[in-house]
Structures are given as C-alpha cells and as structure tokens.
Amino acid sequence: MWFNERLGLDSIREFAAHKKVPIHSSTMWYYFGGITLFLFGIQVATGILLLLYYRPTPTEAYESVQFIMTQVQFGWLIRSVHSWAANLMILAAFIHMFSVAMLHAYRRPRELTWLSGIALLGLALAFGFSGYLLPWNTISYFATKVGTDLAASVPLIGPALARFLRGGEDIGGGTLTRFFGFHVAVLPGVTTLLLLIHLVLVQKFGISSPPAIEKQCKESGRAIPQMPFFPNFALRELMAWYAALGLLGVLAAIFPWELGEKADPFAAAPAGIRPEWYFLAPFYTLKIIPSHIWFLEGEMVGFVGFGLLAAWWALLPFWATDRAGQVRSRLVTGAGVAMIAYLSTFSVLGYLK
C-alpha cells in the first residue's frame, strides 16, 4: 500500500494484466530473448564478483585469475559460470535472432527492434572478444593478435583501428588495459542503454505472431489464441531461466573453465590455436581465402565480405517484404537456412581443421 501510493504499482499491474503472448506451435521460441537477458544478468553479477580480485596488468592478470581459481573460495565456480554463461548467452542470442527471422517478427513496425537486437548481438560478440584477453593466457594472447590484425585489414581506417584497439603497435599492457576498460565500462554502458531501448520497443509493439498463423486465424474467422504475460508467460519464462541456470551450474561444475599457460609474447603460437566457437566461421573462411585475389589482399576481401554479409542480414526488415507489405517468406527462410548452414558448417570445419 505504502509503496503503491509512491510508485504507482497499480498502473504497472494494469499494464501487465493487458499484455498478452500469442499461443501457437512456435511459442517456445519466444523464451530465448528472456533467456539471453537472464544470462546477461548472470554475466553482470559474476563479472562484478570477479572484479574484486582481478588485476588488469600483464604481470598480474594471469596470476590474479590463478589466485581466483585456486585460493578464493568458490572462485573456480564464479569464473567458470562467467565463462560458460558468456558462451550460452551468445548461443541464446543467435537462437533468438534466427527465430525472430524465421517467424518474421522483424516486420513493420518492428524494424528498430530488430536493428537494436542486431546491435546487441554485435556488442555481445565484442564482450566475448574483449573478455577473452583478460586472463592473459597463450590462447587469448594469440587470438587477440589475430583479431586485431584482422581489424587492420579494414579498408582505409584499418591500421588506425588496429592501433586504437591495441593501444600501440603490439599487443601488450596497453591492450590489456584498453580491453579491460571496454569490457567493464564502455560495453556495459552502451549495452544497458541499447537493451533498455530494445525492451521498450518490445513492450511498445507487443509480441508478433507469424504471418502464417495470422492468415490461418483470419481465414477461419477466429482470434489468435493468447495467454496473459503475467503470470502465465512470466512463470513459464522463469522456469526456462531456472533450466538455463541448472545447465550453467552443471557445465561450470563438471567442466570448469581452464586457465591455460601464461601468455609469453616471445613464444611461438602453439599448434591448434583457434578463437571462441562464435568466431570460428569467419576464422575458417579467412583460412581458406588465398592470400591474394586478383590484385586485392585476401584478408581484406574476407573482411569486406563479412561486413557486406552482416549489413545485408541486419537490413533484413527492409528487403524481406515486397511493396505491398507482403513477406517474401521463401526468400527470408532460404536466407536464414543458408546463414545457419554457413555458420554451423564453417564453425565445425574451423574446429576440426
């Protein structure tokens, strides 16, 4: 009562009571956005905890993570949960993105919701890339070397961009400080802002139903079945979060995240070095592109290719419908399947070869 008077809880309750979620054969895909959000929350919480002990300098970073893993009580668990949740969050975000594409939920007026979601996925990848270096181990050191070298092949601004990312000519203390700053300050700030915009847009436009279901219901003259968001959908979502947490706990406890060897800038890159799974597809693509294509550098061709592919996919809402506003369903589904096939096949190849 006291809080209601001061916070206007009745209006929130009223809002929640009117919010509905469509029920159909693909309703399960609606849970993945919430799961991604939940895992982001886990990342924030465990990230704050790790900050209590982590030291972002080349002489102390590895040792501080080793200290967390071996001396701090439950340190191994907190770090493993942070690493596993990062991977599961990116997986959930990819599933969420492809389900939105396949269910054609990006259609007018939800173009900005789609675009903000794509930007959030880009930020999640940036989180992964910047966080990967922080333990300052051999694999992360060389992955960052390759990653920033790839940035150098961006036309025109490449060398300046690579220098900006590295904080100098080479990977060193300057890079670690920068990546730490990006990882714990810049990216969380931008992500929080964009996440708020994304969630406000989801609230504003409600949850979309697939066009096929809309058509079916229209033809049969009945309304699309719906369930109240609160408590029906919210409790189901909560169960999905609980399942995600269970999976996370199992993975972290059974497969604790390894620390590896401390980075040595003067040691040779070890055999079988590869980036995180979500960068494997571009990694393998670059591996098979020849060093020169006609007069152009292979790396640059690859980078421009990825850029164009990402831009084409990000602009999905603008080419997915015809002038009459009808969804080009086959084209979008075909593009989605091709994209999933490319990413999964090249990721597997990148892992194996």
Partner: protein
C-alpha cells in the same frame, strides 16, 4: 484433503526455492570474503649500516609487510617502534624539532619511549629491539 495437498505442495515448492536460493548465495558470500594469505613470520630485519643514519635522524624500515620507525636518537642510542599509529593506522614520523614521534593524520604525539604524550592515540606504540652488529643495525621483535 485438497487443502492439505495444496499446503504440502506450497511447502515443497517454498522449501525448494529457499534451498536453491541459499545455494546461490552461499558461494557468493564465501567468494567475497578474501582468503587469508599466510606470510612467513619475520622476527628480525637488517636496517642498513650505522653510518647511513646520522644521530637525531629517523627512517622507516620494512619489517615484513609492516613499517617500523628506526630512530637514531643520540650518538649511542637507537630506538625502533611500530610506525603504525594506534589511533587509526596512519604511519607516524619522527619530529626533530620536538624530539617526539608525530602522527600527522590527527596530531597524535608519542615520546621516544613510544608512550602517548598528547592527541587521540589510545595506546603506546609497540617497541622493537635495536642491536648493532659490527656496522650493521638489526631490528628484532621483542620477546
């Protein structure tokens, strides 16, 4: 009967929820508590050569991880005290003009026996033993 069943389910659900929330909070509480890092006990340190510290001068010396104030109070007299003020842990210094030990944080004064002269410190400074071995000044913990 239905009510009993419902209350049993409520207990089970509530208990399960409480148990799982506790299992999340417990590791976090243990994690935030920093582990004790055992230090090798230090009982004696070398504070350098006699000629490095002229009479009526003082210097802070590392005694393990703690600072000790070494004072060469007269030609033949050496003294050493814990340099941590007993008031709020600031590091004290030797004041030549008053021939006293002074804590700049809250204007606490100790005499050259470590006893409180004025200001807020509640207890005297811990005293250490100083010995001269040849040309070397050695500080050791009092038994």
């Amino acid at each position: 009967m239905a009510d009993e069943r419902r209350s049993l389910i409520r207990w089970l659900l509530g208990g399960g929820l409480l148990a799982s929330v506790s299992s999340f909070i417990y590791p976090v509480l243990r994690f935030v508590n920093p582990p004790d890092i055992p230090e090798a006990p230090v009982n004696e340190v070398s504070a350098g050569k006699v000629q490095d510290l002229p009479p009526n001068q003082a210097r802070i010396v590392r005694f393990g991880s703690k600072p000790v104030l070494l004072i060469h109070s007269s030609e033949t007299e050496w003294r050493a005290f814990s340099a941590i003020c007993t008031h709020l842990n600031c590091t004290v210094q030797f004041q030549q003009s008053t021939n006293q030990i002074w804590c700049a944080c809250h204007n606490g004064f100790y005499d050259l026996n470590g006893k409180v002269v004025s200001g807020p410190p509640p207890t005297p400074l811990e005293e250490f033993t100083v010995r001269i071995r040849g040309e070397e000044v050695v500080i050791s913990r009092r038994a």
